[in-house]
């Protein structure tokens, strides 16, 4: 009964989505107030019914209802409660339902938290979100119904993929989806503005907090995925340029460009068409990501579920949404006029350059991800490897680091080379010299390490100067009060990049990886740490059996000691061996041990020992960046304007 309720609620939600898409849009076009007024209640009702449907599927998982096919495939009565809850999005059908739920949540948030947006605009935005929701709900109901029954019911389920039985991966998809799908709001605002022709500063201001929040979730989601890959896949890497990773990284890059471009459009009234286009791109790339992951077009370590039939549906949907938006753009964009000219030597100009670099970087990744399909279309099949991505990406992001620093200190509208030169000359020299000294302190001098350190220092120093310029010569309490949260957001976002650069540079250049044969009692020294192997022991836990290795690690000087227990697990139902690495994490280095295979009867094992300097900084950087996004989105300005414009509006309504 419960699964049928879930299925039925989904169908009702689809009907509501149709109404939410069609009626307010027609009402906005024809000026029918009652039709416009339908947008908000429809959005909330849709959220309610998708919520019911989602709750039903969760109930099925929690209560082991093995008459539902999806639960049989992805759950098991031995599965701990937390993974029964997260197991709902462990495979294709459920993760799409989560996608739809997240979209409904964003839509509901737009319906509730936009009192400052004129009603017609809001109605259009909600209608467009409804349209997107229609597509996804249709997709779920037609091709991927999670509530499909199995007759007769199975006695037992075939368990959740063991790779997914992990806390990091349990929260990774919801975070990622909050980001991915969150770009739908900026997208809907952009389409609504293009329809009405009202592409202006006000539109940019409405879009900014939504874009920031979506971006911060996406940042955290990607970081979580990378962290998970690091400790769970057992080969110590944190980024693989895998098509699925690229699919989440591309909207992030374009989203970053969009945040900056929205800032210019709000402040200066320029780049309107470009900003609208970026908003379309960010969401299109999210949809493309879904297509790549779900259709099986690409061979990937991530491809948990794929089916060409579904691919055709998503492709059709992609063509309607993206093709339709770009056609609208092609029609409207020529009518948009910038309020002012852009001088390249100004903050607007630097941010335009930043946008160009970001978009080119994204295109390079897109090319590398789709190139294998292109080759396939011509009759081959290949994989474009990390050598391509690393080279492309490094050469495109290095100039970005320099621009970040300049961008924070240059003036809006126009600046003089002289003023900028005198301000930046000394910091630049200090950074270059200091980076040189620091890079000689490293175990080996490598020019890319120097470059990375210089870049991170440059960003940190310019952040410091920006703070100094704002607070210098002012009463602290006044300065604090008058400084908008967006300023801190900018500083944190950029500092996060600096921390991230340090992490990436040092960990990729100075990590040490050893593949060893170790018998009980053997010791081995890596990077000043002595690793001693004490043998393995077997354990029997919930739904798996584990072979646990005992290691003790001490530094050569003897003032550091830790015991580490890497595991090799066999999950009983799927009999899939899993490597559970043991990690001693630290701010300046991680020690990482993974068990390979048993080698002989005497208890010798293949053991991998990694020394990863500064790897935590990679994720720390992402967290700082996300904090920056939070600060920016919480800027008082958005709320203050909300109040004043709602006052204006009610006055205008009374007058009318």
């Amino acid at each position: 009964m419960i699964p049928e309720i879930g299925h039925f609620a989904l169908i009702i939600a689809l009907s509501i989505a149709f109404v939410q898409a069609a009626v307010p849009l027609a009402g906005a076009g024809l000026g029918v107030q009652r039709w416009i007024a339908l947008a908000v209640p429809a959005a909330l009702a849709q959220l309610l019914f998708i919520g019911i449907s989602y709750a039903c599927l969760t109930w099925v998982f929690i209560n082991h209802d093995f008459s539902v096919l999806y639960a049989v495939k992805n759950s098991n009565s031995e599965l701990p409660l937390i993974y029964r809850i997260s197991g709902v999005w462990g495979a294709h059908e459920g993760s799409l339902l989560l996608w739809a739920l997240v979209l409904a949540l964003w839509t509901g948030a737009v319906a509730v938290f936009t009192p400052n947006v004129p009603r017609v605009m809001r109605a259009r935005v909600l209608a467009i979100l409804g349209l997107v929701s229609c597509g996804f709900l249709l997709f779920i109901i037609i091709t991927s119904n999670p509530f499909e029954r199995l007759f007769p019911a199975a006695a037992q389920g075939s368990d959740l993929n063991p790779l997914l039985q992990d806390i990091g991966l349990a929260i990774h998809p919801p975070m990622l989806y909050l980001g991915y799908v969150g770009f739908s709001v900026a997208f809907a605002f952009s389409i609504a503005a293009l329809i009405s022709g009202q592409v202006d500063s006000a539109w940019a201001r409405w879009s900014r907090p939504w874009t920031n929040i979506a971006w911060l979730f996406l940042t955290l989601g990607i970081a979580l995925g990378s962290w998970w890959a690091y400790y769970e896949l057992g080969w110590g890497g944190w980024w693989f340029w895998d098509p699925v990773e690229n699919a989440s990284f591309m909207p992030w890059i374009v989203g970053t460009a969009l945040m900056h471009s929205l800032a210019i459009t709000e402040k200066r009234g320029t780049f309107k068409a470009w900003t609208a286009l970026l908003a379309i791109f960010a969401f299109s790339l999210s949809l493309l990501g879904t297509f790549l992951v779900r259709s099986g077009v690409l061979t990937s370590v991530h491809a948990f579920a794929s089916d060409p039939q579904r691919g055709i549906f998503i492709l059709g949907f992609l063509v309607v949404v993206v093709g339709g938006s770009l056609a609208l753009y092609a029609w409207r964009a020529p009518m948009l006029k910038s309020a002012a000219k852009t001088n390249l030597l100004s903050r607007d100009g630097v941010m335009l350059l930043n946008n160009i670099f970001l978009v080119v970087a994204c295109s390079a990744i897109l090319l590398g991800t789709l190139y294998p399909i292109a080759i396939d279309a011509m009759g081959g099949k290949i994989s474009v490897g990390p050598p391509y991505f690393n080279l492309m990406f490094l050469s495109l992001t290095a100039p970005l680091g320099v621009l970040i620093g300049i961008g924070m200190l240059i003036r809006w509208k126009s600046d003089s080379l002289q003023r900028l030169g005198s301000k930046l000359k000394i910091p630049a020299i200090v950074v270059l010299v200091l980076a040189l000294l620091l890079s000689f302190a490293l175990p080996e001098w490598i020019w890319t390490a120097y470059l990375g350190i210089a870049m991170a220092l440059w960003i940190a120093v310019t952040v410091g100067i920006a703070v100094y310029e704002r607070f210098h010569g002012r009463v602290l309490s006044n300065a604090l009060r008058s400084t908008p949260a967006g300023f801190y957001g900018m500083l944190l976002g950029h500092l996060g990049i600096a921390v991230f650069i340090v992490g990436v540079t040092l960990t990729s250049l100075y990590n040490q990886e050893k593949d060893l044969r170790m018998a009980p009692g053997d010791t081995y020294e890596v990077a000043g740490y002595v690793f001693t192997f004490h043998g393995v022991r077997d354990y029997d836990i919930d739904n798996y059996v584990a072979t646990r290795g005992g290691f003790s690690v001490s530094s050569e000087s003897g003032d550091f000691k830790v015991d580490l227990f890497p595991e090799k697990r066999i999950y009983r139902v799927q009999t899939m061996p899993m490597t559970e690495a043991a990690i001693d994490a630290g701010l300046t280095r991680d020690l990482f041990i993974a068990l390979g295979e048993p080698l002989d009867q005497q208890g010798a094992w293949a053991v991998r020992i990694y020394y990863k300097p500064f790897i935590r900084w990679v994720w720390l950087g992402a967290i700082i960046m996300a904090l920056g996004g939070l600060f920016s989105a919480s800027d008082k300005r958005y709320r203050r304007l909300a109040r004043s414009s709602s006052v204006e509006r009610s006055a205008a309504e009374q007058a009318a």
Partner: protein, 174 residues
């Protein structure tokens, strides 16, 4: 042309490509090298770089050359099938480690298992060019007469192994 039409045009081309991508199977592409002598090479072995393996060492036997790299995701996908082929112990299986770091390659083999009798290092991809390698992975079947009999582009699947490669091998070995 109107500049603002450009994004739409690019998108339509891309969608066409993706649509085409959905229709495709890993295909067999006729190679101009089929029934031609295998291009000569002499490359260091991955497990023992001081020793070289050349094509003449393999004369008189049927052998397979599998082009792979540690950075190649599709190689990971076909690894299981290549291992199954190696277990049959029918022919000598040589890996051509293409444009790779030897340390990465060694680690990759340790992690996933080494199906190859030996792998040779083609670090700059020169030998790959001689053999007409489009990309990684690719698989060549070479007869006892030193002629290339068959070329497979893309990851070998269980189906293509059983239905195409095995019949060719059986014929060559009989």
């Amino acid at each position: 042309m109107n500049r603002s039409l450009l994004p739409l045009v690019i998108f339509v081309l891309m969608a066409g490509l993706l649509g085409y991508g959905l229709q495709l199977d890993p295909k067999i592409v006729p190679s101009p090298l089929i029934d031609k002598p295998a291009p000569a090479f002499s490359l260091p072995m991955l497990d023992e770089p001081s020793r070289q393996l050349s094509n003449t060492d393999l004369n008189g036997q049927v052998w397979i050359l599998n082009v792979w790299a540690s950075w190649c995701v599709s190689c990971r996908a076909e690894h299981e099938v290549i291992t199954a082929l190696a277990r049959k112990n029918l022919v000598t299986l040589v890996g051509l480690n293409y444009k790779d770091e030897p340390a990465d390659a060694t680690r990759w083999l340790k992690q996933f298992g080494n199906p190859y009798a030996t792998s040779i290092i083609d670090r700059d991809g020169r030998v790959g060019i001689d053999w007409g390698v489009y990309g990684v992975p690719e698989t060549f079947v070479i007869g006892a007469d030193g002629m290339i009999k068959y070329k497979h582009i893309g990851p070998v699947t269980h189906d293509s192994l059983e239905q195409t490669i095995m019949p060719i091998l059986r014929e060559l070995l009989s």
